[in-house]
Structures are given as structure tokens and as C-alpha cells.
């Protein structure tokens, strides 16, 4: 009894602090996450087969920006500027994008279990990306664009399949996503084994995420994905209302059709871009927004930017773990995220069934 009373009291105090989201709390949260992300980035650049000191990393960054000689070993300069930094940037932008896309889909579908991977959207994007790489020259479609179209088509199919007579039901939607994911995975494997030969990275890289290639796409992807995340953040307040239901949102003054269209398209765009540069990485969009809500509440004005930063940090951590724990071999980053993410998904699913 006493224990119950005490936890009750603890909950009261904890919740009293967050009666609602304020500018101040948002600023403190974002600033703290930025610091964590910066420290993790430095660590990720330093860690590896060749250990690099923090001072050297700063030197190289200064020299890359100003063009002055850094005065450190040329091998280290190359490792930092051409191998580890691009990889860190890639993990950051992909982790951020998948988390923001997840938060966006969750609000639109009013379903905390929605995630670009679980809904099959990422794998659908992979089908598009692979088709573009195989036939892209004939069709004049670039890989990211095709991945975007793949993502958009998949969310459409899942939405229609998952819609029961009384609107979209949670379980139907998840089931539709799982089936679509499985179907698209088969197409990926079929295309890569039957048609691609050695022209493309293996199916394994596509289906489990690969952070080691496609660095040349990073600058363009960075701009596109950052812009997409800003657009979704701009819809945060409307998404708060959509979370409680479309009719309520309409009654309270939200232009529901427009917001849905903008967020669906933008979330699919950044999912497609993520897949195009790094393959399919699951569960990031599920775990991260959920953790953020648990720690900071459900207001999307916090959930979206905080998920971007926390997702970036998480994927950076997962990728660094993947390339160091069994070095010199690498574990695909999607394997790490699935190892962490699947139990979280099961936990959430069981808790919802109570």
C-alpha cells in the first residue's frame, strides 16, 4: 500500500512538471539533445580500427572548412574526412528522417505502432530504388525519386488494405503493413538475385541497412531530408489535433485534407530518401518517438524535433556498435535496430491489448 501511494505521489510530481509544453521546456530539451548528439558524433569519429584523438578531429574539421593545412597525419585526415565523417552524417540524417517520418505516420494514422518499416513503406521504397538502379537509365528516374514513389505507393496500398468498415483499425493496419513488407521483401530478393548480378549491393545490404556506401548522395539527401523534416515540424500543431481524430480536428479548425496530404507526401519523401542512400532500417521510427513521448509528453511540437535528434543519436550509436563489436567484420545497422526494436514493438502491442 505504501509503495503504491509513493509511486502515485511520484507520478503526481513528475506529471505536475509537464502540465503542458512550453517554449522553455522545448528549448532545454533540444539543447540537451544537441549536446548529446555532438558528443556521440565525436566519439563515433574517434572510435574504430584506427583510434583518433578528439583534438585531431577538431583540427581536421577546421582545416576542411578553412582550407588550411591541419598538420596531422594524412592517413588520419583521410579516415576522418572521407570515411568516418560522411558515415556519421549519414547515420544522423537517416536516423532523424526515419524518426520524424515515424512520428508523422503515427499522428496521421492515430496509431503509436506505425513505423515506416513496420508499415512496409521502407521496403516498398527499396523496390522503387532497386528498379530505378536496374532500369533507371532507360527511364530517367533517379534512385531517390523512385524510392519516394515506391514509398508513396506502398502507404496508399497499406492504408486501403488496413481500412475497415469503421475507418482504419489498428490491428488491420499493422497486419496490412506486415504483409506488404513481406511481399516487397520478396520482390527485392527476386530482383537482386534474378536480375542485378553484381551491379548492386547484396539483398542483405538493402534489407538490413548499409551505412558504408553512397556517400556521394549525402549532400543532396541532407538538404532534401532536412527540408522535409522542417515541413513536418511546421504541421506539428495541426498533427496534435489530428491525433485526437479527424472529425474533432475538422471541428476545431484544421484543414484536415491538406495537412494529411502534406504529411503523407513529405514523410514518404524522407523515408524514400533514407532508403535510397542506406537501405531498409527498421524500428527507428517506432522506438524513438515512443521514447520521446514517454519522457517529454505527446505534443508534436516537441515529439518531432526531439525525435529527429534522438533518432540521429540512436542510429549513430547503432551503426558505431555495428562496425566495432565484431571488427573487422561489420554487422548491418538494421540488424542492431531490429534487435532493439522488435522487443519494444511486442511490449507496446501487448500493453495496448490490455
Amino acid at each position: 500500500m505504501r509503495a503504491a501511494a509513493m509511486t502515485g505521489q511520484a507520478a503526481e510530481t513528475r506529471l505536475w512538471m509537464r502540465e503542458r509544453l512550453t517554449r522553455r521546456r522545448l528549448a532545454i530539451t533540444i539543447a540537451s539533445l544537441l549536446v548529446i548528439l555532438a558528443v556521440l558524433s565525436m566519439a563515433a569519429i574517434a572510435i574504430g580500427s584506427e583510434h583518433i584523438a578528439f583534438g585531431e578531429i577538431l583540427n581536421v574539421m577546421v582545416s576542411e572548412i578553412t582550407g588550411r593545412a591541419s598538420g596531422i597525419q594524412p592517413e588520419h585526415q583521410t579516415i576522418i574526412a572521407e570515411i568516418r565523417l560522411p558515415r556519421v552524417l549519414m547515420a544522423i540524417i537517416v536516423g532523424a528522417s526515419l524518426s520524424v517520418a515515424g512520428a508523422g505516420y503515427q499522428a496521421l494514422l492515430r496509431n503509436p505502432l506505425a513505423d515506416p518499416y513496420i508499415l512496409g513503406i521502407s521496403t516498398g521504397a527499396a523496390v522503387g530504388a532497386i528498379l530505378a538502379t536496374l532500369y533507371g537509365q532507360a527511364l530517367f528516374v533517379s534512385r531517390p525519386l523512385a524510392a519516394f514513389v515506391g514509398a508513396l505507393v506502398t502507404i496508399g496500398v497499406v492504408y486501403v488494405l488496413g481500412r475497415g468498415r469503421q475507418g482504419t483499425s489498428t490491428d488491420r493496419l499493422i497486419l496490412a503493413g506486415v504483409i506488404t513488407n513481406s511481399f516487397c521483401s520478396s520482390i527485392v530478393i527476386f530482383l537482386l538475385t534474378a536480375l542485378a548480378g553484381s551491379r548492386l549491393p547484396s539483398a542483405f545490404s538493402w534489407l538490413m541497412g548499409d551505412m558504408s556506401g553512397e556517400f556521394r548522395l549525402i549532400p543532396a539527401a541532407f538538404v532534401l531530408m532536412a527540408a522535409g523534416m522542417v515541413v513536418i515540424f511546421g504541421c506539428a500543431r495541426s498533427l496534435n489535433l489530428l491525433m485526437i481524430g479527424e472529425e474533432d480536428a475538422l471541428a476545431l479548425g484544421v484543414d484536415v485534407k491538406r495537412v494529411k496530404l502534406v504529411v503523407y507526401i513529405t514523410a514518404s519523401l524522407i523515408t524514400g530518401a533514407s532508403v535510397a542512400i542506406s537501405g531498409v532500417i527498421g524500428f527507428v521510427g517506432l522506438i524513438i518517438p515512443h521514447a520521446v513521448r514517454l519522457a517529454g509528453g505527446s505534443d508534436n511540437r516537441l515529439v518531432i524535433p526531439a525525435s529527429a535528434l534522438a533518432g540521429a543519436a540512436f542510429l549513430l550509436l547503432a551503426d558505431t556498435a555495428g562496425r566495432t563489436i565484431v571488427a573487422p567484420r561489420e554487422i548491418h545497422v538494421g540488424v542492431i535496430t531490429a534487435l532493439v526494436g522488435s522487443p519494444v514493438f511486442v511490449y507496446l502491442l501487448l500493453r495496448r491489448m490490455d
Binding site: 505536475w16 500543431r237 485526437i244 509528453g297
Partner: protein, 263 residues
């Protein structure tokens, strides 16, 4: 007296006709109770008044402004709405939930103003929900949640408040409290209320107008004492109802009898 709400010849169909030629007016500070059996089109009528559904034909105007010509934002500034049940999987706090009612007054991007917080706080005090402002709505009881929903609707200081069975989850004391509050707001703020309810006696006590809806048509419309007659109510519900006069208030009093005296 000019009417605040004008509903003119509303038709709505979905598979079959749901509303057929519904018209009525409500003046400032009126409380209109919509009565009728299940499936008579009550909820659909409310949704067309709020503008969530567009009628096939006919017009709804609030303060002489045609609802079809207003943006969602402009409409939301005039009309407050509480649906039958609005559950959320996401644990917004009660205060965050009530603040959603202020959406139409703020910027699309940004934070609530001091006035938004003041109005939300006031609405929560009026509905006696302020004490659990920090609790997630997913953890509230049905009755608590219904009061929070009501607070959300009045936080925007609407000219017209539309409620779908606002008292369904409340015990009798809270039902009377909510209706008292509603009455007070109609007098203090000149707000007009349209509500669907199955509580015939509460409708008789609190409503200034009663709209009876049967199979999508207006069966009767007028003051409770004029239209809540035994004959009209029996026709409406096809149930064995008896109507006499409440000796305390003088309003019609409806009682049910298990015996099938009708046949």
C-alpha cells in the same frame, strides 16, 4: 429576435436518405434539445451544423454567415463541438487537450498565447477539471474525460455549442452540474446550445426548444411544454410513455411503464 442559428431544408444521404428537409432556428441563448430514437439522424444533423459533414442540399448559417462559405478556421471560431466519444491513443495531458480547443485562434506554427492559457484554465475551473490538468487523458475515467471534452469546447468561447450526448457517461449529479453550467454560459455569454440527449426529463427542465427527429424528418419543434406531450413522445419513440407535469418546475415529466398499454 434574430436567430443565431438558421438551419434551412437540410438533406443528407449516405446509402439512403438520412436527413430530409430539416429546418429550424435557434435564437441567442437558446438551448435546443434534439430528441429522437436511435438512427433517426441526430448525430448526422449535429455534424452538418458543425460543418464536419456537408449537406446534399440546404444551408446552415451561424450569425447570418453561411457555413459552407466559411473556412474551417472561421467556423471553429464560432462553433464548439463535443462528439459522442473521442478517445486518443496518445497521452496528451488534460490541459494540453483543452488547449487544442484554442487552435483556431492561434498561429498554425507556434505556441499558445497567455490568453489561450487563461481561457483553457477558466474552462477547466468551470468544469471542475483543473485539479487533474496534468493527468494524461488516456488515464481519466469516462466521466472525467467527458468533462474535459466539454472544457475543450467552451475554451474557445463559441457563439454556438453543439454537443452529442454530453452527459452519457456522467452520474446524475454531474449531469445536472453540466447542464447548470451550460445554462449559466448561455445567459452570461449569450451562447446558443444544440444538444442531442436521451435524458427526456433533463431536456424538459433545461431546454428552451425541443427538436424531435424521426427518420430524418422534423417530427415537432417548439417549447418543451408545447411539444413534449404524451401523444408526440409516444409517436416519436413508439414506446409506452406517460407525460404529466413536474409539480416543482411545471415542466413536462416523462415516465415509462413496463406494461404494454399502447396496444
Amino acid at each position: 429576435m434574430t436567430s443565431l442559428l438558421r438551419v434551412r431544408d437540410i438533406n443528407f444521404s449516405y446509402a439512403g436518405p438520412i436527413l430530409q428537409g430539416v429546418s429550424f432556428d435557434a435564437a441567442e441563448a437558446d438551448i435546443v434539445a434534439v430528441l429522437g430514437p436511435n438512427g433517426s439522424g441526430k448525430s448526422t444533423l449535429l455534424k452538418t451544423i458543425v460543418g464536419i459533414l456537408s449537406p446534399k442540399s440546404g444551408t446552415v448559417s451561424v450569425e447570418s454567415r453561411d457555413l459552407a462559405k466559411l473556412s474551417r478556421r472561421e467556423a471553429a471560431q464560432l462553433i464548439g463541438y463535443v462528439a459522442q466519444e473521442s478517445a486518443s491513443m496518445f497521452p496528451l495531458t488534460a490541459m494540453e487537450y483543452v488547449l487544442l480547443g484554442r487552435f483556431a485562434f492561434g498561429k498554425l506554427i507556434g505556441f499558445e498565447s497567455d490568453e489561450d492559457v487563461r481561457e483553457a484554465t477558466r474552462a477547466m475551473e468551470l468544469t471542475e477539471t483543473y485539479s487533474f490538468k496534468s493527468r494524461p487523458i488516456s488515464e481519466l475515467s469516462g466521466g472525467e474525460r467527458q468533462r474535459v471534452m466539454f472544457a475543450r469546447a467552451i475554451a474557445s468561447r463559441p457563439r454556438l455549442l453543439v454537443l452529442d450526448e454530453p452527459a452519457a457517461n456522467l452520474d446524475i449529479a454531474h449531469q445536472v452540474k453540466m447542464l447548470d453550467l451550460m445554462k449559466r454560459l448561455t445567459q452570461e455569454r449569450g451562447m446558443t446550445v444544440v444538444l442531442v440527449t436521451h435524458e427526456l426529463n433533463l431536456a424538459a427542465e433545461f431546454a428552451t426548444r425541443v427538436l424531435m427527429l424521426k427518420s430524418g424528418r422534423v417530427h415537432a419543434f417548439g417549447e418543451p411544454s408545447q411539444v413534449m406531450t404524451q401523444r408526440k413522445l409516444r409517436e416519436l419513440f413508439e414506446a409506452n410513455l406517460m407525460v404529466d407535469v413536474n409539480p416543482m418546475s411545471g415542466a413536462p415529466r416523462v415516465t415509462v411503464s413496463a406494461s404494454d398499454a399502447l396496444h
